[in-house]
């Protein structure tokens, strides 16, 4: 994951835009490649940096890593460019390659738009940001052609990136922290995902980048669930509070939302006086507080039952959909059912 410290030190060097329509396979609109970077003034450079920090440090950002097996040329392009010694023309060439690849894979329901590639440094390290921007309706995209060279005007940045309220949907940052190929800090953000997306659509951005999410969603989901349960069992002493937290956790995992954001879960459901401790506990146990895609595959069984734990350690487990049989009062827990059998262990 790209650390907050590196983001604090981020300094943008160059920016280039390419217009990437959808691939229709019928000779439709072709990719419009800039051959020069877009000149930006100091003020816009700062605003752009701030916008990137806001997105990449947000709770919706997630850690990614280069996929072991990928057909995407993006990882190699990033690896090569971020090694020392690449200048302005290499930046333009590399970014054009990234735009061509986006054009090849971008079809069907994926929205067309502009690919913005940013060369940056942070903490003495070299990095790249890739952003896919949607054309705003009515936004002017001024492509300048002069002496055989083309570039997009600074107004593109104003219209598509810096406007108040503009959300950068698909963003990714790669910062090389040493000469070794595995040593990158990376983060991505994909705020465009919808509950109705197919798996292919949901993975479009990471797949284009040739990356996978740092932690498999089913592993991250299971880890969040088990650590949260562990916390509730260990530190939440009030039985009523305990039940509310169990229920909230289960309903979060059963909901249709495609992602989980543990930081939001803590904010919305955990009592104020233990929020910080809960967050610290999750972090100690290496549970990301940021958004990750929800996948309950590994905890299917655990989600089918709801467990109530009394002050003295008595456990009552309710099967899925039968929670109504349990009544939790101030002083007692009542099970509205007949005893079937008593077991040990």
């Amino acid at each position: 994951m790209l650390t907050n410290d590196m983001l604090a030190m981020m300094a943008v060097r160059s920016v280039i835009f390419h217009d990437v329509p959808n691939q229709r396979g019928d000779g439709g609109p072709t990719v419009v490649l800039a051959t020069e970077v877009t000149q930006i003034d100091g003020r816009r450079r700062k605003l752009l940096q701030d916008k990137l920090k806001r997105v990449l440090a947000s709770r919706h950002a997630f850690g990614i890593m280069f996929a072991a097996e990928t057909t995407s040329p993006v990882p190699d392009a990033i690896r090569e460019f971020t090694t020392a010694g690449h200048g302005a023309s290499a930046f333009v060439d590399m970014s054009q390659g990234l735009a061509r690849h986006l054009h090849q894979v971008q079809h069907g329901a994926v929205s067309p738009g502009l690919l913005c590639v940013i060369d940056f440094v942070a903490g003495g390290h070299r990095g790249l940001v890739l952003m896919k921007l949607e054309r705003e309706e009515g936004a002017q995209l001024e492509l300048q052609r002069q002496g055989g060279q083309t570039h997009f005007e600074m107004s593109v940045l104003d219209n598509l990136v810096l406007t108040d309220g503009t959300r950068l949907f698909k963003t990714a940052a790669f910062l090389r922290t040493s000469e070794k190929d595995g040593d990158f800090q990376m983060a991505a953000c994909d705020n465009q995902r919808r509950t109705t997306d197919t798996i292919e659509m949901a993975r479009f951005w990471t797949s284009y980048l040739g990356c996978v999410i740092e932690e498999e969603p089913r592993v991250a989901t299971a880890k969040f669930f088990s650590v949260a349960i562990e916390y509730i069992n260990t530190f939440v002493t009030d039985p009523g509070q305990k039940t509310v937290l169990y229920e909230s956790l289960h309903s979060e995992l059963h909901s249709n939302a495609p992602d989980i954001t543990p930081r939001n879960f803590v904010r919305d459901y955990v009592p104020n006086d233990i929020q910080e401790h809960f967050r610290e506990y999750l972090q100690e146990k290496h549970v990301s507080l940021n958004t990750f895609p929800k996948d309950t595959e590994n905890i299917k069984g655990a989600l089918k039952r709801l467990t109530y734990v009394s002050n003295e350690g008595v456990r009552v487990v309710a099967p899925e959909g039968k929670e109504g049989l349990i009544e939790v009062g101030e002083e007692n827990i009542r099970v509205n059912d007949r005893l079937l059998r008593v077991g040990q262990g």
């Binding site: 700062k46 920090k53 929020q275």
Partner: protein, 325 residues
Amino acid sequence: MTVAEIEEARKRWIAERPSFVSFGGRVENDLKAIIRAQGILAEVSARAKEVHSLVKKLLAKTKHTYDSLPDKVGVRIVVRYRADIPILLKAIEDNFAFNAPQDKSSKLGNDRVGYLSVHVDRLRYRRPAAKEFPPKRFFAELQLRTLAQHLWAEVSHDAFYKNNEMIQALPKDLRRRVNLMAGLVEVADREIDRMNSELPNIPGAHLFKGLESLYYRLTAVKPNIELSLEVIELLLPLFRGESEEEIMQRHVSPTFAAHEAALRHVYSDPDGDYSDASAFLFQPEALLLYDRLQNDPDGTLAVWNRKFPPKELERVAIAFGLSLD
């Protein structure tokens, strides 16, 4: 010095002054960094003498030659409190060589008042710290004083009571008034120092002092203390009953230490352009906000919105590489 020697000194200084200007600039920058590392607010300035000023000095101080003149480059550090002076002397000694400092107050004894400062002669780089400024040739005179001492030094510099010899030559009543005024300034200097060490028993005062010492390690921009106390009071409940000392020790100081490099970067924009920065960035409590935004962003946002514009907190967060989104 003979007329010919003075003429020769003038020519040499015209030729050599640019390299001494560079030396002064380097010393000034290095001293600023040393002082900043101590978390002390100070004004630092260095300058190479103008040609006419050098000639005047050689004419007035006949014991000196061009080569022996100790203050071809003069450096001045002005601090707020007397207590800062020994701390800075020690820090400077760790980085520079110099002759034994002269405390002008000791020269006055216990029955006279007047010019107070610490003077350091032949402040120079140790080999091989700055090869381009060999210590035999490049040295400066350093004056280290408080604001109150600076007031007296500045006012008396161009007056007939500049030094003890001149004071003794004054009419008796005027001499008494000069002494009384110098005494008043010294009393004020001591009282300012004492008041600084005796903090008022108001919420936030201890925390402000702790934050201030870290803040001045990052920047010399003076804050608005009233605003600081308001913000500190607003944020204190987020620490759930911990004392102000505990907040510094358990939260702010460790967070600062863990992220010092990034914080330094935030406060050292090469263009010095902070036009889009939050008004709260150049306040010591920005470091308290930084700690809370790292550890309790939602709680911080909730209390902040009760009193201050959310956009300002967002700007602080973004400057520190954090996001409220």
